[in-house]
């Protein structure tokens, strides 16, 4: 499924300064029963966001009207655990286009890149500055600049981030890997014919 192009995102951000946020927290397994990709945002962080009676937990950040925006800022080791792409879908469907963290789990990072959510890894020191910026002013706009591969705070402070050239072009153009792979199908078939297993 193709997604919207990502170039420069300037938005307020939602802080979630918790480490090791696993994909079971991002979306619990009992909400993985759909056969279509829609509505997952409603259950993003379900058990942190709602009580058992479905009333909102007021101390959770997504229920705090002070914070909103298209950028989610998470603690270290964000997205560990299950490979469920539903976690990335939930993040996207809720309205986030970018997650900033000082460290991402591999599969979650890859899933995000495949569906149009930009995972931006920054140093721990810079992540602290991002959290401090939002805490000081929840309306502060953070710029995520993909063409120049940098995050810019309202103070003007910035930090570069890495992304490989191939994935960067995909994000900038809204392409996905299947577009690429279907174009080289003949190469794949020729290679397969020689494979030992």
């Amino acid at each position: 499924m193709a997604y919207d192009k990502f170039e420069i995102l300037k938005s307020t951000a939602v802080p979630l300064p918790i480490e090791n946020v696993d994909t079971d927290q991002i979306i619990p397994a009992r909400f993985l029963k759909a056969t279509e990709r829609k509505g997952f945002g409603d259950n993003l962080f379900r058990d942190w966001r709602y009580n058992n009676d479905d009333s909102p937990k007021e101390d959770f950040v997504l229920n705090n009207p002070k914070y909103s925006g298209k950028i989610l800022v998470g603690g270290k080791n964000f997205g560990s655990g299950s490979s469920r792409e539903h976690a990335a879908w939930a993040v996207y469907d809720y309205g986030f286009r970018c997650v900033i963290s000082s460290f991402f789990a591999d599969i979650f990072r890859g899933n995000c890149l495949n569906i149009g959510v930009l995972p931006v890894q920054v140093s721990e020191a810079f992540a602290e500055k991002v959290f401090a910026t939002i805490e000081a002013d929840p309306n502060a706009e953070i710029e995520v600049n993909l063409p120049e591969q940098k995050v810019v705070l309202p103070s003007g402070e910035s930090e570069p981030f890495e992304i490989n050239g191939y994935k960067k072009q995909n994000m900038l153009n809204g392409f996905d890997d299947i577009d690429y792979l279907t174009n080289i199908k003949d190469d794949i078939k020729a290679f397969e014919a020689k494979s030992p297993l």
């Binding site: 480490e19 619990p28 056969t35 490979s83 460290f103 599969i107 890997d177």
Partner: protein, 465 residues
């Protein structure tokens, strides 16, 4: 040039390297289940493309299947819908489908090896992070997202940057009462849940050479819990002996041809790893977790660490202990428990049930414990019966359920109620993993058995004297 086992398998599957990008990797075996595949099938349908090699994809239902009354219609309409979608998609594309009730049905990572789908030197993927299990055979096996499931269906390839390489050596002989699960939990406790992120691990050393194939599967299964994409062990005589004669294992000339490849699958003596760690088997005792990620584990006789000594930030650590309702410095031994779960792709094979039975034999299930014994497959279930384990379990007050992922992730009705404490042989103790509000202690089948008969966390060695 000298190569690691991982290099040999990876490099031989690279169709093409994308400049300043990932490798295009050919996938030999693709396993699918009902939860992470429907959107992928929908994706190829919307693109108007088919499945390129249907004979390389294998479907089985496991994640949300009930573990009682499997002969009756599935009660939960959403689960039933996913199971029907899997069957429909498999049939439409000519993919083998071992659905609910099929004699070969079981957890995807249990049935793959059982029927010889899992082979050394293969690339194996599935939309499930515990696909790393198959690395026990010297395969490169790892979990993928649904977009990648769609890629494999459509093109038999995925696009992945080559991970860094790590070797984990465990030398010496394991102590009495220490199982493969304990080895894995010990390693994860040392590395934390992110210590191997970005790496693919190879397990080496005497402990893994001595280990059974099922034990190797348990260790490789848990590779993802230290952040590694996967883990693998070089194939040896045990590996070849295990796969010989299974349904999908090659025979005759095809076997000889495969063996020519398989015998090259070891790390060359002077090959380089990006990181290498060595542990001593003698330092490992039966393990148990106390927190809300698999890295929060310790020897069962130890006390819960203080926040000041934790590797995670203090706030995160205290949140975790708060959820578990434990205190810093608590003993683990003696904590009263409510549930015991033996099963899952981690510890749902016959050796696990043998270990569990060894301890409960001649004892009775504790009255305060609800026990769920869930075989990983029908084949495991049949072996439990044939070997007479079921009679012993029944005599001790236990019941056997039908195969599936069950309470490992509680997508079906096997949910541990809020606040209840479970000793589980599964792989994750995340908040709510076994049901909203549930609390999980990960451990080996021996530790689970000791808890099941005493009603509290108990050192299994005390019951094995």
């Amino acid at each position: 040039m000298s190569k690691t086992l991982f290099d040999k398998v990876w490099d031989s599957h690279v169709v093409k390297h994308v400049e300043d990008g990932p490798d295009v990797l050919l996938i030999d075996r693709h396993m699918v289940h009902e939860v992470t595949s429907p959107v992928a099938f929908l994706g190829i349908k919307n693109r108007g493309i088919g499945v390129l090699y249907p004979n390389k994809t294998f479907a089985t239902a496991d994640h949300n299947t009930p573990t009682i009354n499997q002969h009756l219609p599935v009660q939960d309409p959403l689960s039933a819908n996913q199971l029907e979608a899997l069957e429909r998609n498999a049939n439409e594309h000519g993919i083998s489908h071992w659905g609910l009730g099929h004699e070969k049905n079981g957890i995807v990572h249990v049935v793959g090896p059982e029927y010889g789908i899992t082979q050394p030197g293969a690339t194996i993927v599935c939309g499930d992070s515990h696909t790393s299990t198959h690395g026990a055979f010297g395969a490169i096996a790892f979990g993928i997202g649904t977009s990648e499931v769609e890629m494999v269906l459509a093109t038999q390839c995925i696009m992945q940057p080559k991970p860094k390489k790590m070797r984990i050596n465990v030398e010496g002989e394991l102590n009495f009462g220490v199982t493969p699960k304990d080895v894995a939990l010990y390693i994860i406790s040392k590395l934390t849940t992110s210590g191997a992120t970005g790496y693919f691990a190879e397990y080496a050393g005497q402990v893994f050479r001595d280990m059974s194939m099922e034990g190797r599967m348990t260790v490789c299964n848990l590779s993802i819990e230290m952040g590694a994409r996967g883990g693998m062990i070089a194939p040896d005589e045990k590996t070849f002996e295990y796969i010989k004669g299974r349904e999908h294992t090659p025979t005759g000339d095809a076997w000889d041809k495969a063996m020519t490849y398989w015998e090259t699958l070891y790390t060359d003596e002077d090959a380089k790893f990006d990181k290498e760690l060595t542990f001593q088997a003698s330092d490992i005792e039966p393990m148990i977790t106390y927190g809300t990620n698999p890295g929060m584990g310790l020897g069962i006789t130890k006390n819960i660490p203080f926040a000041a000594d934790a590797t995670d930030g203090e706030a995160t650590y205290k949140k975790s202990l708060g959820y578990m309702n434990f205190n810093e410095g608590d003993d683990m031994i003696g904590k009263p428990i409510d549930f015991v779960f033996i099963g899952s792709c981690t510890n749902g094979r016959i050796e696990d049930f043998r270990a569990f039975t060894e301890i409960v034999k001649g004892r009775k299930k504790a009255d305060n414990v609800t026990a769920w014994l869930v075989p990983g497959s029908h084949k495991v279930e049949a072996a439990i019966k044939e070997e007479g384990l079921l009679d012993i379990l029944t005599e001790s007050g236990f019941e056997l359920r039908e195969p599936g992922c069950s309470a490992c992730l509680a997508m079906n009705d096997d949910k541990v109620p809020a606040g209840k404490l479970a000793v589980s042989t599964s792989n994750r103790n995340f908040e709510g993993r076994q049901g909203p509000g549930s609390r999980t202690l990960l451990a080996s089948p021996l530790v689970a058995a000791a808890a099941a008969v005493t009603g509290k966390v108990t050192d299994p060695r005390e019951l094995m004297k």
